[in-house]
């Protein structure tokens, strides 16, 4: 019963944060709304017994990635008059919703045909660090290595993009 109540609280917070991101005019307000969504999603991961992903969501997403985005927004020092003029914004919202609501209803109907499982907290180390780590380094070893190469490429790319080109100019 408590898990049901917590699910609705976290789901409401997540949707409210997502709507705040889409509706907010200044990206700083949107970023703070997105942090609310990330933390609510971390709570939902905990309800799904994903202990490791719950911690990673808080540390990597709500901590590292969002602080990077907030840092860049503050670094660019965006004022109200720097923001792009979005006069027909409400028209785009209405058009986008008219396009997306049928897709969403179709997906929700497809989801409803799945067998229902009560989401009680699973014990026995489900989603713990050791179990997920064992799976990651045995069955998913090749994708893990590919992801490490992707991170290396992103690192090199960021250095190349951010490096000053004094020799060219």
């Amino acid at each position: 019963m408590a898990a049901e109540f917590l699910f609705y609280v976290f789901a409401l917070l997540a949707v409210a944060g997502a709507l705040g991101l889409v509706l907010a005019r200044h990206p700083m307000n949107g970023a703070i709304s997105l942090v609310v969504t990330m933390i609510a999603l971390a709570g939902l991961y905990a309800l799904l017994s994903a202990k490791l992903i719950f911690v990673l969501q808080l540390i990597v997403y709500a901590g590292a990635i969002m602080s990077l985005i907030l840092f860049i927004i503050m670094f660019l020092n965006i004022r109200k008059e720097d923001l792009p003029e979005e006069r027909g914004r409400w028209l785009y919202y209405i058009g986008g919703s008219a396009l997306l609501i049928p897709v969403a209803l179709l997906l929700i109907r497809a989801v409803k045909t799945l067998p229902g499982v009560e989401t009680t907290i699973v014990g026995g180390g489900f989603g713990g660090v050791k179990e997920v780590g064992l799976l990651l380094f045995s069955k998913w070893l090749l994708p893990f290595e590919i992801v490490s190469i992707l991170l290396l490429v992103a690192l090199v790319g960021a250095v190349v993009l951010a490096g000053n080109r004094r020799s060219e100019s």
């Binding site: 889409v22 990206p27 792009p84 997306l100 992707l150």
Partner: protein
């Protein structure tokens, strides 16, 4: 119920698409993409819980790594574009238009 988690995932993903198609601020577009990645993660974890296997957890970790790489590169590109164009309008960044 698992279905509720998947419905929430669908709703968050659609809100993310709405943010991408209806906004012109590059930061909001970028954060909407992050929101869509998070909705996909929620679906992975819900299915993982449904089948009681942990492959979804590993996939969610991979998605997080991809999101981190994407954040680093996209923010570097946004800084460069802001330096060149002086604003954040995605309509101004049409350098590849013939």
């Amino acid at each position: 119920m698992i279905g509720d988690y998947l419905v929430l995932s669908v709703v968050l993903f659609c809100i993310g698409i709405l943010g991408v198609v209806s906004r012109r601020n590059v930061f909001t577009i970028f954060m909407s993409i992050e929101l869509m990645l998070n909705a996909a993660n929620l679906a992975f974890l819900a299915f993982s819980r449904l089948h009681e296997t942990m492959d979804g957890h590993v996939l969610a970790m991979m998605v997080m790594a991809v999101a981190a790489a994407e954040a680093a590169l996209a923010l570097a590109v946004v800084i460069l574009l802001h330096k060149h164009k002086g604003n954040l309008d995605s309509n101004a960044f049409s350098l590849l238009k013939g």
